[in-house]
């Protein structure tokens, strides 16, 4: 058997056929090179694909999928690999199709506030292309300087500013989708109303299980005239969460309300020197945006509310540079945590916003019970928590405890009326918990919806929906390949 090719319908003939379709430079089969693709940001499980293909056009994607269809080979689509739930981890899919070379902005129509992009376009590049004219693309995941629109569509990505502007699903109007049998279909379109069923809406968030999106029509927004970005420090997270509820109850819709706890504040300060005082128990970044005229009044009202809730200090970003520093600290918090431990797993549970104090207390208790450090940096306005569980991969017992603690946190979210995932997707990480959130009938109907697109179950098999009656075992790494 040749290097990197093994089992599951894969043979050197398939590689040759793929090379004939896309060129030898667009097919990777060396095991050492494939190792890069063995996981995304969910690093607890790893499994490299047998072959990686990097198409450059819709026609190539279609030809690849027709070939795989004929041979009955399953595939997994991949964007930039920044996902956090194992969405592009190959399970029963030997071929990985990476869309990063399809990275062209096809057209920009500012007067209609539309942009058409290929799936490999980096999220931030969309905004970069229209910022000078005063527009932006709203979904802004923390990984936005690396993650791609294709991946965002697969995972229905969010970000801090989804509080006001919504997630990816609210901004994708239409997609060109290559079905798992290679047929190219147009779903939705640039007009605001839908014609027939909203299939483009169903594709968003389907985690790569319905084929490969090769083009997307996105809605652009007019950039706000102005921002007021505040940093408020509190003694503890309880007080900070009360302030969040106060602000929202007052009738404001801030662009974002983000929270960091003591552990994260320490890590971020060490990495970026934002000027957080030592000992602060919680920090809120509150950003208001909109028309310049009324913004100062909104900001002083928000500041007043936070002080009345017990904020130790509330500071307004002096200028754009300081605002950017705050956002850098927030968006790179995950990276900063890398200084504290070799490995971390980020959870993505959601609770009704009023239950934030309860879930944070629960997380503290879980951390103590499992003898782990857990930091919290999250979208407080949405109730979307991101506990970061620190662990050492080399310590098998600690890894096991990290996985168990994560599951307990998710169960606690569900017990409070919440959800397993606010923006990261189910992937493989949360498969086992799906039956806790949805009934067998719910899951059956979701499987029926999936089969509309992928009747043979060859597009990213094994994701989103647990197999009926099976308990997914994730405690052992999925690395099946001897390295």
């Amino acid at each position: 058997m040749e290097d990197g090719l093994r089992g599951s319908g894969i043979d050197s003939g398939l590689r040759a056929d793929l090379e004939a379709l896309v060129g030898a430079d667009a097919v990777v089969s060396r095991r050492s090179e494939l190792k890069v693709y063995e996981c995304d940001g969910w690093t607890i499980e790893k499994n490299a694909p047998d072959l990686l293909v990097m198409p450059r056009s819709t026609e190539q994607v279609s030809a690849i999928l027709r070939l795989l269809h004929r041979r009955g080979v399953a595939f997994v689509p991949r964007g930039a690999g920044t996902g956090l739930s194992g969405g592009c981890l190959p399970l029963a899919a030997p071929v990985m199709i990476c869309t990063s070379r399809m990275n062209r902005i096809v057209s920009i129509d500012l007067s209609n506030r539309r942009v058409e992009v290929q799936p490999g376009v980096v999220n931030l590049h969309v905004t970069d292309a229209v910022r000078p004219q005063g527009y932006f693309y709203a979904p802004d995941p923390s990984s936005q300087s690396a993650c791609t629109i294709g991946g965002n569509i697969a995972e229905n990505s969010g970000g801090p500013h989804t509080l006001k502007y919504g997630v990816t699903a609210n901004h994708v109007l239409g997609v060109e989708l290559v079905l798992p049998d290679g047929e190219v279909v147009e779903l939705g379109g640039p007009a605001e109303e839908k014609l027939g069923y909203d299939l483009a809406g169903a594709v968003v968030g389907s985690e790569g299980t319905v084929g490969i999106v090769t083009r997307a029509t996105l809605r652009l927004m007019r950039a706000p005239q102005s921002y007021r970005t505040m940093l408020a420090l509190f003694d503890d997270v309880d007080t900070a969460t009360r302030a969040v509820s106060k602000i929202i109850a007052d009738g404001m819709v801030p662009g974002a309300i983000e929270m960091m706890d003591r552990l994260i504040i320490g890590a971020v300060e060490a990495a970026f020197h934002v000027g957080f005082p030592p000992g602060a128990g919680a920090a809120l970044i509150v950003e208001l945006d909109g028309l310049a005229a009324g913004l100062d009044d909104h900001a002083s009202r928000a500041a007043e509310l936070m002080r009345s809730c017990g904020a130790r200090s509330v500071e307004l970003a002096r200028d754009e540079a300081q605002r950017q520093l705050l956002w850098k600290a927030r968006k790179r918090a995950f990276g900063a945590v890398g200084r504290l431990a070799s490995n971390y797993a980020t959870q993505d549970g959601v609770v009704p916003r009023t239950r934030l104090p309860d879930i944070l207390r629960e997380i503290t208790a879980i951390a103590a019970r499992y003898r782990l450090r857990i930091g919290n940096v999250f979208h407080a306005g949405d109730g979307n928590i991101h506990p970061i569980v620190l662990y050492e991969e080399r310590d098998a017992d600690e890894t096991r405890r990290a996985i168990e603690a994560g599951r307990e946190i998710l169960k606690a979210c569900l017990a409070m009326g919440g959800s397993l995932t606010g923006e990261h997707g189910i992937g493989v990480e949360k498969l086992a918990e799906m039956p806790l959130l949805f009934s067998p009938d719910d899951l059956r109907v979701m499987a029926e919806l999936r089969a509309v697109f992928d009747p043979d179950n060859r597009s990213n098999p094994g994701k989103v929906l647990p197999r009926p009656g099976s308990c997914v075992e994730v405690s052992a790494p999925r690395r099946q390949v001897p390295l």
Binding site: V167, A169, A191, G201, V204, S245, G290, A293, T354, G417
Partner: protein, 409 residues
């Protein structure tokens, strides 16, 4: 048929739950059932599947009677499932039965200074189920979006009479496939929506309307687009002269821009509008709120045919560029409703909308015109194939409002 069916359904339901259709319901359903629980709907669906009886949710029957050329056998009214199940003011979410009218929902929410900013016309006649099924929207779609941006959870009774849930009760949630998107705008063809969960928004602190009058639609649209680009408008409505309101001026197109926010936000925007559109009339406070309702419910003149088109926003004016055309437009959203005299004109406008990368839907038509013009455009063949598969998967017996959706689904 009706009496046999009535006898059969009478075995499943108490006499009080089964009735003759009233008024224009008779164009949509032969018998009306008013189930009071998921179990009762489940029973009904199983019965319909066994005996191949067509069934459809009817709401107030305004959409269904246009959609259908012949009534379904059993119409489902959810008037018994019309309660607000859980309003969590601090979480800004609400769970509501699909039979609730939007007016009833609004009354509950307004007590807490909140609203569901999807505000289609005639909220006292529009049920939550109808808003979802027909994807009804309102003028605030420009700033707030449509119902697909606010629906965070849905429950429906599908094939086999099984109750199915998608989404949840939290404002941000990507767990599982998005059944909400699939059900919105499905016109009762996939199942019977029984319950919805929405995220909410605070009512704006201040609300004002700036009204401008224009002699020609092109000039009105141009002004509107300028305002939309410069400001953060809540809505931008353009009414042709034939749409009568208390503020209509003879022969003039009325452009109504809504502004909100705090005092300074509103003052700044009103000042800008006055500058960009000299002669602007400003309404504030109760006057503005009253005229908002007039705008929301503004009706097209009586006409043989009414249609809604959606197009790229900047191309909307060219779609409407016909002498004397009566329309109301959500100007900057690229959506308009039109009153038309004949099928030929409608076909022309439908082509114009398609050229503007959009499509058209017939909202109402005289019986004589039925069959001369399709209710929906035909989706592209690949998309239609998937839609047919979806219909077959969700409704294998073909009983849910069959034969009147896109492509004859």
């Amino acid at each position: 048929m009706s009496s046999v069916l009535q006898t059969e359904l009478g075995r499943l339901f108490d006499a009080g739950r089964l009735r003759e259709p009233r008024g224009f319901e008779s164009a949509a359903a032969e018998v009306v059932v008013e189930p009071a629980s998921l179990d009762e709907i489940g029973e009904l669906v199983r019965k319909c599947e066994r005996d191949r009886i067509c069934v459809a949710p009817i709401g107030a029957c305004r959409t269904l009677r246009c959609l259908r050329s012949a009534p379904v056998s059993a119409g489902v009214s959810l008037i018994q499932m019309a309660g607000v199940i859980a309003h969590e003011p601090d979480d800004m979410t609400v769970v509501v039965g699909a039979g609730a009218t939007l007016a009833a929902l609004e009354a509950v929410l307004a007590r807490h200074g909140q609203h569901l900013p999807v505000d289609p016309p005639f909220p006292d006649q529009t049920t939550v189920g109808a808003m979802l099924g027909a994807a009804h929207s309102g003028l605030t779609r420009l700033s707030a979006g449509t119902v697909r941006d606010f629906l965070i959870g849905v429950q429906f009774v599908g094939h086999g009479g099984k109750a199915v849930r998608g989404g949840g009760r939290v404002v941000k949630n990507v767990a599982g496939y998005d059944l909400m998107k699939v059900m919105i705008g499905s016109f009762g063809t996939l199942g019977i929506i029984t319950e919805a969960t929405f995220k909410l928004r605070p009512l704006p602190e201040l609300y004002a309307i700036a009204i401008g009058y224009h002699c020609a639609p092109a000039e009105a649209f141009e002004t509107g687009f300028r305002l939309h680009d410069a400001l953060a408008l809540l809505h931008l409505e353009l009414l042709s002269p034939g749409i009568r309101t208390p503020l209509t001026r003879e022969g003039q197109y009325l452009l109504a821009a809504g502004v909100g926010g705090n005092r300074k936000d509103a003052d700044y925007q009103l000042e800008e509008i006055r500058r960009l559109q000299p002669g602007t009339l400003i309404l504030e406070g109760a006057d503005a709120r009253r005229f908002y309702r007039v705008l929301r419910d503004a009706e097209l003149p009586q006409a043989p045919l009414r249609m809604q088109i959606a197009a790229l926003p900047r191309q909307l004016p060219s779609c409407l560029d016909r002498p004397g055309l009566q329309f109301r437009a959500h100007a900057a959203a690229g959506v308009a409703q039109l009153a038309l005299d004949d099928a030929e004109t409608a076909a022309g406008i439908r082509r114009a909308a398609a050229d503007a990368r959009g499509h058209a839907r017939v909202l109402s038509l005289q019986p004589a015109l039925r069959g001369l013009i399709p209710i929906f455009d035909q989706p592209p063949s690949g998309a239609l194939k998937l839609m047919r598969r979806l219909k077959a998967a969700f409704d294998p017996a073909g009983i849910f409002n069959p034969g009147c959706f896109v492509g004859g689904i």
